[in-house]
Amino acid sequence: MSSGPDELEARIGELRAAVRRAMAAGDRAAARRLRAGLREAERAWDEAVLGADEPSHGPSHGPSHGRVRPPARDQAHRALTLLGVPAAPKLVASVHAAFFPAEPAASLANLRRDEERSFRSAPHARPYYLCAALTADLLAPARGLLTISTWSLERRVVGRLSARADFLAAAINVAGHVRRDTPDVQRLLWRFAANIPDASGGAIGTVDPVALAGAARAELAVHRDADRRERAAAAARAAAGLGEAERLFGSRLRSLRAASGESHRPRPTDGEDR
């Protein structure tokens, strides 16, 4: 049914009030229903008043429109290779934006889940997979980290010092790859330099990659041996006790068991007990 802008406005006002009251009273179900009607009315108003075929002039539209986006997995692979250590999607995206600025960023959401599905349906069909890092104590998928399947198990397990050690190693690798000094690169370097002691040589407000790498190396020397030992031990356990898929995507045995309704007595959960 087509309504003039005035009627639409009145209806929009009523629906807005109703949605707001429903949400204020905590009635989410009613709010959802009303919201659907509200969105429709708002869309009709936009068309009636602003014109239906508005070409997008908005600030968020750029050259990306219309081009084919490269798949997320390729971007993640490139950025992770540069980083050289397990990393969170946000860091991966920042590295990609800094070093491959010509390419628009693809979303890395759900990447691990999609890769796991792809692997399980056709193992080793692809030359590499983006997969999980494994926690050293439980060999479970570490929250929020991406790795590459072609890396050794030692690189892909994370112990208690690994978060710090890998941060420092990433700083070294990133600093080593800097060719041009763009604002995105400086921002990325700052992310590291601000959190590594004595890291920001160079003029005020800029980071000197050489100074950054030097400072990172200095601290890394403190943690490296302990970190390597823990990782090696965990990698050995993983190699011995985990199947292929688990080695890539982590062991979630406990939750699988719980889901299947099997009762179980608590297993020793601390790696040292094994």
């Binding site: 009273a25 946000k90 860091l91 439980l138 929250r143 010092l161 978060a163 890998d166 601000a194 406990r254």
Partner: protein
């Protein structure tokens, strides 16, 4: 306490007990003299649901802009194994360079089961106490017994310093400008953190160590000035700790109030709910609106019976504690003879009435 438990279940009307968190526990301390609130909290009644059923819903909802801002800031501080937090604590706590371990307690092997997370938290904290290993514990899960039930509490981070102590770290998104923040927001954060300190101390004691190994100093990590850079501010929560401990102790003495109530009283939904709620006396003050979901119902009740408390605590105090607006006005008019203890108040009110009339009547 166990004798009251079936009574408390009955009061709840069979509904499952409301889950507490640090904020609601801290809010328990807001109005210690209110029996209505005391009973409902002890029984774990869902005050929000009751208020809604009574027709006085408490306004509900937080702006998504605030939520997003809070999440983004917290993620940023905790990124890369809490790199920014580590920098702050190296500066504030004097953590040495080797102290850089990070343990993620947000999930266990992909599972978010509270029992498992709590068990792992206990294990890792015990190891830290015994061997000194471990520095940052991300989203640990603590437990506190309230009214015979387990309540799970989740501080943002716990920091452990070798040869030192555990410090609770809370990440908040309100700004610290030139070293100062809104006092109300700091106070709320301090109250919430005190609950965590309490729970952590009890855990440490259970593990056989000295609870004083949990510092009374918590760190609030907030954005600095108008940027997203974090800054860490130490806050001494001893005053808040004392208040929370006192209030939790009081909760267990709710038996006395319950014993005085009708034997079949229940807050279950139904036609009798308003009467049941009214059977337990409240102590309404305007401050309740900021901390208790029942406030609007109690306010309506106070206004309907002309209570001076509805006008504010200070007004009630000015009136010498006289509870009723009608009575206060009658004393002021001189139409009511005061009881002995109200003689002074009544005299003041009568003088005040005369003076107001004189000034407003234009008499000079």
């Amino acid at each position: 306490m166990t004798e009251t438990a079936p009574d408390l279940d009955r009061l709840r009307g069979g509904a499952p007990p409301r889950n507490h968190d640090a904020r609601t526990i801290a809010a328990l301390t807001a109005n210690p003299g209110c029996a209505r609130r005391g009973v409902m909290d002890a029984a774990g009644v869902d005050k929000d649901a009751v208020a809604r059923q009574l027709g006085f819903p408490a306004p509900y909802g937080q702006s998504q802009f605030a939520i997003t801002r809070g999440n983004v800031f917290e993620q940023q501080v905790k990124a890369d194994g809490c790199a920014e937090l580590l920098t702050l604590l190296r500066d504030r706590l004097g953590l040495t360079v080797p102290e850089a371990r990070y343990d993620d307690l947000e999930e266990v092997a992909g599972s978010e089961s509270r029992e498992m997370r709590h068990a792992r938290t206990r294990r890792l904290l015990a190891r830290a106490l015994e061997t000194g290993e471990g520095t940052l514990f991300d989203h640990p899960l603590l437990r506190l017994e309230i009214g015979g039930r387990a309540v799970y509490l989740e501080p943002d981070v716990i920091a452990f310093q070798l040869a030192g102590r555990f410090h609770v770290v809370e990440i908040k998104s309100f700004a610290v400008i030139d070293g100062q923040a809104e006092p109300e927001q700091v106070a709320a954060a301090a109250r919430q953190s005190a609950v965590y300190v309490l729970a952590l101390r009890r855990l440490v004691a259970e593990l056989g160590h000295d609870p004083a190994r949990v510092a009374h100093e918590v760190f609030l990590v907030c954005p600095e000035n108008f940027t997203n850079r974090p800054t860490a501010t130490p806050v001494d929560v001893r005053p808040q700790l004392a208040v929370v401990e006192r209030q939790l102790a009081r909760l267990t003495r709710v038996d006395e109030i319950v014993a005085a109530l009708p034997a079949d009283l229940t807050f279950a939904p139904g036609a009798a709910l308003p009467e049941s709620v009214r059977a337990v006396q409240a102590r309404y003050a305007p401050e309740c609106m900021a901390s208790c979901e029942m406030a609007f119902f109690c306010r309506d009740e106070a206004r309907a019976c002309g209570a001076t408390g509805a006008l504010g605590r200070s007004v009630r105090d000015d009136l010498g504690g006289v509870d009723s607006i009608a009575m206060a006005l009658a004393l002021a008019e001189g139409t009511l003879e005061p009881a002995a203890e109200l003689a002074e108040t009544a005299a003041q009110l009568r003088t005040a009435t005369r003076l107001r009339r004189e000034a407003l009547g234009g008499l000079h």
